[in-house]
């Protein structure tokens, strides 16, 4: 409802605009949001000035002939404005544009926030450039994107914004860990953290030894194909098959290895897998 008020006032003031085509009220044709300025008026007596813009309507009682001063906060919203000075003797009007001021903020969308290592073009960064009043800066601006991983290696790309938006795609690093993704326009910077996580295990190898009537199974440290340790908590499935019966256990990796115990059965076949990756098999000769 609130946003309709300027439109309604604009409609009401349209006849005045039409009648005031020949009158002159000299506003700058183009000014930056947040700029203080003044403009002269002509005539005598008092009048009412209306300035209708995208964010609202400004109404001010003025003395004709005096200059009209506007503060820095009077026109914060970019867009097209119409000024109408209504007096008893005449009506004057002017039109002008308020454009965004210099970039003051970057809203930075970095996706995904977590992805596997070595993923080509896997990270996307989109920057929306705003001035200090939240106007989208439509003029092309050079935007720098930098992705720095834990080893200090940095990928950089600079691109120009189109209609206030700039975007890039980048590769995830080979080394797992948090990477800092930064977008900057001039001295305005915004940072996001992208977690680069290990991929699937490259191989899984288990060893076994007897412990009473149980067989203790343990994997070697599990790493992905780039050498990163597969995160703790990743499930490793052990399966023991023996004479048509089987025993299974899903074990989380702790401190790089998965460890468990199963019944010790002579001749049992023990296998291991994690997700879609299979490991080695053991033909157990010990046990009962």
């Amino acid at each position: 409802m609130r946003s309709r008020i300027p439109i309604l006032i604009g409609i009401i003031l349209l006849p005045y605009c039409a009648a005031a085509q020949s009158s002159s009220l000299r506003f700058p044709q183009r000014l930056e949001a947040g700029t203080a300025f003044s403009t002269p008026s002509s005539g005598s007596g008092s009048g009412t000035l209306y300035v209708v813009g995208p964010g609202g309507v400004l109404r001010r009682e003025i003395q004709l002939g005096d200059s009209i001063a506007f503060g820095a906060g009077d026109f914060p919203n970019a867009g097209h404005y119409t000024a109408i000075l209504a007096a008893a003797s005449s009506t004057q009007s002017s039109q002008f544009d308020v454009v965004p001021s210099k970039p003051a903020r970057v809203s930075f969308l970095a996706k995904p926030s977590r992805l596997p290592v070595n993923r080509s073009q896997g990270i996307s960064g989109v920057g929306y450039i705003f001035d200090r009043f939240g106007n989208l800066t439509l003029d092309p601006q050079p935007v720098s994107f930098a992705l720095s991983d834990g080893s200090g290696r940095t990928q950089t790309q600079t691109t120009s914004s189109h209609h206030g938006v700039a975007w890039v795609r980048m590769n995830s690093a080979a080394k797992a860990g948090p990477a800092t993704f930064q977008a900057s326009v001039g001295n305005v910077r915004e940072k996001r953290v992208v977690q680069q996580v290990p991929g699937d295990p490259c191989s899984i190898r288990i060893t076994a030894h007897a412990s009473g009537n149980r067989v203790v199974l343990q994997t070697d440290p599990i790493r992905d194909c780039s050498g990163n340790a597969v995160p703790d908590g990743t499930i490793v499935s052990f399966t023991e098959t023996y004479l048509g019966s089987q025993s299974t256990v899903d074990v989380p990796i702790k401190r790089d290895v998965a460890r468990t115990e199963l019944p010790s059965r002579n001749g049992a076949v023990i296998s291991v897998a994690s997700g879609i990756v299979m490991g080695n098999e053991i033909h157990w000769k010990g046990g009962l």
């Binding site: 926030s113 977590r114 908590g233 990743t234 025993s247 256990v249 702790k254 199963l262």
Partner: protein, 376 residues
Amino acid sequence: MKRGTLLALFIALATVAMVIAGMLWPDVTGSGVPNAQAKLMGSATSPQGAVNNLLQLIARRDWQSAYSSLANKSEFSESEFTRDLIGNYGSLRTYATLDGFDIHPLRASSEAAQIRARLRWASVVGTFDDSRDLRVVRDGDRWQVEWPLVKEARVPPQVIPVNYLRWDVIYRGAEDDWGAQDVEAPHVRIVAMHPIDRAGGVVIMGEILNEDVVPAFVTVKATLLDTHGAALASEDSFDKISHILLPKQVSPFRIDFPNLSLSQIDSVRMQPFSTLVPASADPVIGIESQTLHPVPDSSLTGQLVNQSGQIVNVAHVIGTFYDHSGQIIWVADEYPSRALLPDSPVPFQIPLPADVSSKVGSYRVIASTFSSSRFQ
């Protein structure tokens, strides 16, 4: 008129014959529905009556009277008897009620009888059966039941060191800039799906993999579409799935659509959903001695072994059954009624339809657990 009279006469004679047959050769098996208002027979004058009385007392949770009526109460205490029936450590039995029972005499003499009692317990996750072979002995003019106590495992007081692994999550705050990304939902993938016609309905079965490095709460939604692409029905996986999946963990799922057939369906739209949730990597449950039994008792049996120090109050066992080509042909589950204590095996039995049992080439079993106030 004449035919009607003959029919009436035949029905009357048949009824009289059946009444006489029932009196001469009574059905010695029986079933009971616990009734709080039912009067007990007092001193049981038959083995069946004694068992019936005992089970009615158990249904009323009148442990003291039930214990007092036993012939072998000197062999165990009342608390041991109660613990046998309702479990311990907040297990499924603790919150279950006896919903009904069947009794089947196995053999009888003038001094003793053997009766098989099948107790049906109702719990929040459905009913479960507890079958006991009861010996009933004569004591003068009355019969008393000898209760076959199943002693629940006890774990001696001890400290079990555990390398505890847990994920906690900090979500995006209300004050954050709209561009600030929230924590990413876990990446999950449906790795198998198989629809079948069964029992007058459609059953969608499959497997879902958490391919991320964080735990996920998962559900699967299936929508059946007709030839015009219109939705015929839509259902979520509910109980035949392990909702919490740790990294690289796979869960089966089964979604039932009653009163539909595959001939009505053109395609199925599958939608996996995942949410990042705090979770714990413990407890670890070993599923040992899994054995497939053919008909007539077609089922998969095994033992759950809690390899952690934490007591598991309720466990959920889900079995995925594959044919010889590796296709999923059935997903079934069971909730063992007893709590899982550290290193104390608890048996489970997943029933299998007879027609499925003969086709099973391989199977895979997973267990999810509930401990105190936390789902795992």
